[in-house]
Symmetry: C2
Subunit: 209 residues, 2 copies
DNA sequence: CAGAACTTACTACACAGTAAGTAACTCCGG
DNA sequence: CCGGAGTTACTTACTGTGTAGTAAGTTCTG
């Protein structure tokens, strides 16, 4: 053991700001061109350095992608700062608000659409991230459903898990259609409609088929 | 103008079979690795030729992709051979059956998931294809809704367009989650649940939020 | 003066597309 | 039925480009 283990001297604030700019640039490039077709040089150009400079900070392209995703999650949590993650019916209201917000930030939406779908391919570096992400979101939505049922004195039906997955699914799927034809698909309205439809079917199911 | 325009001598059946094998191989490769990361050599290997051989048949990689998508659409129509494309409520029953069928063919599903999401990136060769595809499907689903409303003596509400987009969206979105964790997401059951929920909300809307 | 933050320059590879050549097949006139 | 011209279905070999990663050097900073 060497006793002179250097303390891993934390980076200067200027450097942190630089890395943040890289992360944002990477999000933009991965969003518009995809991960595989998104070259490091394009990211580096946006922050005025060479692609080797980017690699100096993040080690590899794979690593950069993972940090981009992690960074984005952290920012989202920071937006809710102080506020707890909403529970019960408020979670669903929050999802509707998110859809509304997303209609104003096509870049971010496109990045998630492209990267999440790309992640199902063989050996994709973001695969674990998205597996975990959907698992977490499904659990949260499922819990919210169970809470709502409890509040209304209903036994939570076994459809809650399907419903939880469906709500995430419909939001994702609408994003694809919206990105392809923004004028033809109203992201916010359609999301709100579908979420309400699914909730209603959980709380009081009806057969129509 | 040259009067010696040779009659474009139609290809031998053996050649057609070969091209079909290439299209299937391309679907597999584009599905597992995506379009940009799916090399022609891998496709060529599967049919025992070189990548130049594939280019001989299809001219370019972009062209190959478009023919793959067109071929797949034609096969689907052929499956319905004789039968008309279902109308009204039968369309929705058909969609549920499709989801059930899709749970048995992950390869095809993965290809559509990956390619449709990839298509929203800048200058992607399949963009027009998917724009057109979703436009057509939304129209068909919308028409089916209006027919069902008519049959039941209801005025079709203006939610039908949102509902049509939502049904396609939920099917697509569930596929992503299912591909990432097949054991955790029941594609068929969740699709059926969501489709029924959305239909119910069109035919007899309720507010829960 | 040690390490951080880069740059330049290079390596190595993956990949689409092209050119030129070859073998097999098809069609047509005799 | 036959033989050669033209066409199809490829192969091999090459080109060019895009790109991630590495190594070594330079400047700046605490």
């Amino acid at each position: 053991m060497n006793s002179t283990t250097r303390p891993p001297r934390r980076p200067r604030p200027e450097t942190l700001a630089r890395r943040e700019r890289i992360l944002k640039a990477a999000m933009a490039t991965f969003g518009t061109r995809g991960y595989h077709k998104g070259p490091l040089t394009e990211i580096a150009d946006q922050v005025g350095m060479t692609h080797a400079g980017v690699l100096h900070h993040f080690g590899s392209k794979d690593q950069l992608l993972l940090e981009v995703l992690r960074y984005r999650d952290e920012s989202d949590v920071k937006d809710l700062e102080g506020q707890h993650i909403p529970d019960g019916i408020d979670l669903f209201r929050h999802l509707v608000k998110t859809a509304l917000l997303n209609a104003q930030r096509a870049g971010l939406v496109q990045a998630y659409v492209v990267l999440s779908a790309e992640s199902v391919t063989e050996g994709h570096p973001a695969r674990d991230f998205f597996v975990d992400r959907y698992r977490t979101l499904r659990r949260e939505a499922g819990d919210a459903f169970r809470l709502v049922c409890e509040e209304r004195g209903i036994d939570a039906p076994e459809t809650v898990d399907r419903a939880a997955a469906s709500i995430l699914a419909v939001m994702d799927g609408l994003q694809v259609q919206w990105l392809l034809e923004p004028e033809k698909v109203d992201l916010a309205e359609a999301s709100a409609f579908a979420i309400e439809a699914i909730m209603a079917q959980v709380l009081d199911p009806r057969e129509v088929l």
